[in-house]
Symmetry: C2
Subunit: 124 residues, 2 copies
DNA sequence: TGTATACTTGAACAGTTATTCATATGTTTT
DNA sequence: AAAACATATGAATAACTGTTCAAGTATACA
């Protein structure tokens, strides 16, 4: 199963376990899905956004409530809510001057819980 | 339940739903856990690392295998493996010149699967 | 109509990050 | 010992990101 490596290939080494690579390659999900998955986790990869999502899992809240809760400016929160909305993680509804935000997707909490399991395991 | 807002508070608005805020505040996890959770998701928030983890879920692989599979330089992969190792997501074992990497934590896949559910739901 | 309020938005800035390049380390083989 | 090879690492760079600041909307109410 040995094979000449083409110059175009970038891994800078001669000996690879081609069987393994081919076997893994077959099982890899579509590039697009992996990319989108990374984009989703990127949204989760900020403690402000994590806090907002966690808060909204408890109750629907207006921008000002969230800003007060997290002790941050209303502008900063608003910017982050836009990111969360673009990721279809939160939705909003206006009631007069006030805009209430809530979770769009109920299994966000499940993803967080899985993450926490990892974190708490790490601390053992 | 109305209350005067202190100048130190940053949310730039007068009317907050204090009951809601207090109720949510009680249920929020420790700051430290939320921060660590964000750090974990930050590691997942890069498609190269997602691909590496997904690949290692299928099989133990050496650096060169991964570089070849993903068509990236061995150096780039090595840098990312260091990040994954620091996050205690992968472990390595040396066999002569070759260093094999594998998953450290078996429920990474479960977190990914939850994420995929969200992504596929979004596309409906 | 004008003012106050809740929120949004664009630009700017500082801080972070992924990859590249060059070089170093550790192991095997000759 | 030296050469070859797999991997690691430090520095540099370009791209990205979160917050702030200074406006801008949209709604309610006097």
């Amino acid at each position: 199963m040995a094979r000449k490596i083409q110059p175009a290939e970038r891994c800078d080494c001669d000996v690879i376990h081609e069987d393994t690579v081919n076997q893994v390659r077959e099982k890899m999900p579509q590039e697009e899905n992996l990319y989108d998955l990374a984009e989703l986790f990127k949204v989760f990869g900020d403690s402000t956004r994590i806090k907002i999502l966690w808060a909204l899992d408890e109750a629907e809240m207006c921008v000002c409530d969230i800003a007060f809760l997290l002790n941050m400016t209303q502008s900063a929160i608003s910017h982050q809510l836009r990111v969360l909305k673009q990721a279809e993680l939160v939705k909003s509804r206006r009631e007069g001057k006030i805009v209430f935000y809530s979770l769009e997707d109920e299994h966000v909490k499940q993803i967080f819980d899985q993450g926490l399991i990892h974190i708490l395991e790490e601390r053992k």
